[in-house]
Structures are given as C-alpha cells and as structure tokens.
C-alpha cells in the first residue's frame, strides 16, 4: 500500500453564507494520478485553493507528508513540494516561455540544482522546447496549458495539482496533455487532476474523488465511481459513459 502524501480531514470553507467545501475528507496515495470531479461550482478549485493556502480553512485540517499546512504561506507550501497548474492559465505575459519556467526553477524547492537543466527538462516533458524563446503573450490555449504544467514541475514538486489542464483543448491536444501528465507521474510526481472529460479522467486516474455542492459524494476506482448512484444523480441523472477500456 502506498503511503499517503496529502490528506484532509473535515475540511470546511465558508464564503459569506455559502459553504463551498463541506466537511471533506481525502487521502491521496503517493505516486498515483488521482482524480477530482464534480459539476460546475462543486468546489473543486476551492479545494485546491485551500491546499495551496490561497484561502484559509474555515475548519478541518490538511496534512502534506504528515505535516499540518495550517499557517504556512503559499510560497512555502510550494517549496515543500506542492505545485499547481491553474484552471485559467496565468502566464507571465511579458516573459519568454523559458523565463516563465525559470521562475519556478529558481524559487521552487530550495536545493542546489542547475536551473537551466531543470528548465530544459520541464520544456522536454511538456513538449514545448521549440517555443522556449517566444514571449508567453499570444500563445495558444493548448501551449499555455503546457506552460502551466512546465512551470509547475520546474519547482520540483512531489505533488502537482492540475486544475482542468484539458479544458478548451481539442482531442489531439487533450491526448497530448494526458500523455504529458503520465510523464509527470513517471518522474515520481503525484498528480491530482480536476477534469470534466469523463473519458480522459477515467482512463488516466487510479482513483477518483467526487464532490457535489462542496460535499464528498463518492470515492474509489474509476469503475466504482461511474457506477455509483450518487454520482449519476449529481450529473443530472445522465448516464455516464463507461470508462475506456
């Protein structure tokens, strides 16, 4: 059994009258690709914001490698090994792709490494080496998403939170992204993936957590989750496609 890299117990987040995260527990096994799904507004991004420290918890506790994250600022959490690719790509527009990634290489996990080598490796894994010297402004959605991943893994994390990295991608690009995430996991990085595309998420994830209206409604292997009646109801009763073989 894998050890747990990230765990949450009774995690709660209130926004002025709205409960965006409602008593959620989770355990992410190290080395896995873990899924997080749920309808729009279910609280997926909020959960990631709680893990990265962008929001403070209203209640509960999150532990990373056994250490409570309470009171630890965002930048420190990254240096501890938590990286994130944003749902809405946030490149540094005036900097080149290489410079964008270099920021992660320089400020991520504090250790003696050759920053340029880290950058090159991140460029290679995500397959954007050919545009390394272009400024990030004006890149296509597909490339920006890869840049998000490249920059995040340049910080040398042990956990990558990927918030809908396939949103807005065409089928070819989606497949590229899925392969890219597999490569990331191949580097020993645990991936926690938010994804709407059921086919993608069930094909790539070892286990999946399903939330609806802030509450955990199911957890298990892709096969368990798609056959779970709660999940089917949450998705408006629409039958869910069988996981790809």
């Amino acid at each position: 059994m894998n050890e747990i890299i990230l765990s949450g117990r009774g995690v709660v987040k209130h926004f002025a009258g709205l409960t965006a995260t409602d008593n959620v527990d989770f355990d992410i096994p190290a080395g896995s690709i873990y899924g997080l799904i749920g309808p729009n507004g279910a609280g997926k991004s909020t959960l990631f914001n709680l893990i990265t420290g962008y929001y403070d918890l209203t209640g509960g506790e999150i532990r990373f490698k056994g250490t409570s994250l309470a009171g630890i600022p965002t930048y420190r959490r990254n240096q501890m090994g938590i990286a994130r690719a944003f749902q809405i790509s946030k490149p540094f527009p005036a900097l080149t792709v290489r410079e964008n990634i270099r920021v992660g290489a320089i400020f991520g996990r504090p250790e003696k490494v050759d920053h340029e080598k880290v950058v090159d490796e991140a460029l290679a894994i995500t397959g954007i080496a050919d545009i390394a010297d272009r400024t990030a402004e004006g890149l296509t959605v597909g490339t920006l998403r890869k840049l998000e991943i490249a920059r995040a893994i340049a910080t040398r994390p042990s956990l990558l939170l990927a918030d809908e990295p396939c949103a807005g991608l065409n089928p070819t690009e989606t497949q590229e992204m899925v392969n890219c995430l597999r490569n990331v996991r191949g580097k020993g990085i645990t991936v926690w993936l938010v994804e709407h595309d059921m086919k993608a998420v069930t094909s790539i994830c070892d286990r999946i957590l399903v939330i609806d209206a802030g509450r955990k409604i199911a957890e298990g292997t892709p096969a368990e989750v798609v056959s779970n009646p709660n999940v089917i109801t949450a998705y408006l009763g629409a039958p869910i496609e069988e996981p790809a073989a």
């Binding site: 990265t52 962008y54 600022p73 965002t74 930048y75 420190r76 990254n78 240096q79 990286a83 994130r84 944003f86 946030k90 490149p91 540094f92 527009p93 005036a94 900097l95 270099r102 920021v103 992660g104 320089i106 400020f107 991520g108 996990r109 920059r151 995040a152 340049a154 910080t155």
Partner: protein, 323 residues
C-alpha cells in the same frame, strides 16, 4: 552588449561627465545636474514601480522626508566631519529614516494592489507633507537651511553636478544588479502575476517590501542631497506632486521596467522642457503635457519598448527570409 565594450563606454562616459562643466558653463551645468538628479529618481522609482509593478504616486514623500531629515540631523546633532564630508552622515541618516519609514508602512500598504497602492502612496505623500508643514518642530512652513559645504573654490553648481552624477551612476549600478539577481526575477514575477509567483515559491511579500525599502532609501538619499543643493527649503520645495509625477512620466516615456528607459526618458523630457521649450515659458507646460499624451499613445512601451519592437521585427523578418 560586449562586456569590454560596455566597460570602455562607461569609462568614456565618466571622462566626458568629468570635464563637461568646464565646457558648458553654469546654466547647462545646472540643467545637467537636474538631469542626473531626475534620472536617479526615476531609476529608484523604477525599481519598485517598473520591476515589481507597484506604481507609487507619492514618492516625493521620500524626497521631502530625506531633505528634512538631513536638515534636522544637522541642527540637532550638528555637522560631523568637515567640508563636503560633513554631508555624509546626514545623508545616510536621511536614507536610513526613509527606508525605515517605508518598512513600517510597507506591511499594510503593499497589500493594496494596482491603483489602490498608487493612490495610498499619494495619500501618504500628502499627509506627511502636511504634518511637516504644520507641526512647528519640523519648521516646514518657515523653511530650514542646509548649508552646502562645497570644497574651497568650486562653484556649488559644479559640486552638486558631480555628486548627482555619482549618485546616478550608483543608482544605475544598483538597478542593474537588482534586475539581474534572484531578487530582480522575483520582482518581475510579482509584476506579471503575483498569485502565480506565490505558487512558484516566490516569497512575494518579502521581495515587495525589500524593493519598496530600497527604492525609498535611494530617493531619501537623493532628497537629502537635493536639500543641500538648494540650501534653503520649505515643505513645498521638497514635497512636490510634480516630483512624484515626473518619476512616473520619465519612466513611461523611456520604457518602464527597463534598465535604461528611466535615463532615456529623463533625458528626452528634460531636453524638451529645459532646452527646447525654455523660451516659451508660458506655454511650456501645455506642450509638455501634450507631448506626454502623444508619446504614451504612439509608443505605449516607451522609447526603449518601441526600439526593441523595431529590432525584434527586423530579426523576425530576417529569420523568415533565411528560412
């Protein structure tokens, strides 16, 4: 640029600067002095505003605070050392005080982003100016003296010409070092997207505060020297909105966030206002204003931005031809 070439150019520049006052006479020496002072201010402003994107609309607060700090240091403690060296401690005290003041207000004020920070700094400038003006002890209303101890025989305009030239070089070097360091990279990341920077391990808070304190210290030192150079000043001589605005405008014109943009912008604007338009004093502000609007509209990246684009464009064309 080639390293030895840069060194050679730098040396040549120093020689030219050194002998210039003899050739150009007192009036243009004063214009040059104003240029060095203004360019150094713009560089100091640019370290915060240009690199990290936190535009301060009230940086004159550090000019005023620096000048009054030096004057009160001299009256309270007395000049220490003789001749020009008696300026050293008051000036350092001024820089230190401004840096400390920046450190104290940094925590609340740097949490404000964008225009809110800019306006808050405008307010800080206003409030401190009024305090210095109205609290009798500061003597901002009646004014204070700060004697200029030029070495024997040297005209004061030459003396301050050299001091401001040295300060400009110092600010430029500091700015270059900052820009090429880890610190500089952090500031750029903050400017581009603060939330992302945090998520990439950048201790944004710490670097922002550092940039603010450094910028304030440099402006405080420049303000103290400015106080010496005018010899007598009141609140309104040193707490001046046009100082604050000039720093921004010069950077914008030359290329905000670039290393040499602030210098180029200052040179261009001072040449226009002090040299070309000095004969049309009555309409000079009007023309200056119109020019600023025109440049901002025509070349939003400033002069350096426009040049860079032009060369980048050419390079791209060459590449596509070769391909």
């Amino acid at each position: 640029m080639n390293r030895s070439l840069a060194l050679l150019l730098g040396l040549a520049a120093i020689v030219v600067i050194a002998v210039l006052p003899v050739w150009i006479g007192p009036f243009y020496t004063r214009v040059a002095q104003l240029f060095f002072f203004s360019a150094a201010l713009a560089i100091a402003w640019n370290i915060l505003g240009g690199f990290s994107g936190y535009w301060s609309f009230g940086h004159t607060v550090f000019i005023g605070m620096g000048a009054f700090a030096a004057a009160h240091f001299v009256t309270q403690i007395g000049p220490i050392g003789s001749g020009p060296f008696s300026m050293v401690l008051p000036i350092l005290f001024a820089g230190l005080l401004c840096g400390l003041f920046a450190l104290v207000i940094a925590y609340p004020i740097l949490r404000l982003r964008g225009i809110y920070f800019a306006i808050a700094m405008l307010g800080v400038g206003q409030v401190i100016g009024e305090l210095v003006n109205n609290i009798r002890w500061f003597q901002g209303g009646v004014g204070v003296f700060l004697a200029a101890p030029a070495p024997g025989g040297m005209p004061p305009e030459d003396f301050f010409y050299y001091i401001f030239a040295a300060l400009l070089v110092a600010c430029l070097i500091i700015s270059v070092v900052v820009r090429n360091s880890r610190f500089g990279y952090a500031l750029l990341a903050v400017r581009e997207d603060e939330d992302t920077a945090m998520m990439l391990g950048v201790a944004t808070e710490r670097y922002k505060i550092l940039a603010f304190v450094l910028s304030a210290t440099l402006v405080g030192i420049l303000g103290a020297v400015y106080g010496y150079s005018v010899g007598y000043f009141t609140t309104y001589t040193v707490f001046r909105l046009d100082f604050s605005l000039n720093m921004i405008v010069f950077c914008l014109i030359g290329g905000i966030g670039t290393l040499f943009g602030p210098v180029i912008g200052t040179a261009v604007m001072l040449f226009l206002t002090q040299v070309l338009l000095s004969r049309f004093l009555d309409i000079h502000l009007l023309i200056t204003g119109a020019l600023v609007v025109a440049i901002i509209l025509l070349v939003p990246g400033g002069i350096l931005g426009a040049l860079k684009q032009k060369f980048a464009g050419r390079a791209a064309v060459r590449k596509s031809v070769e391909a």
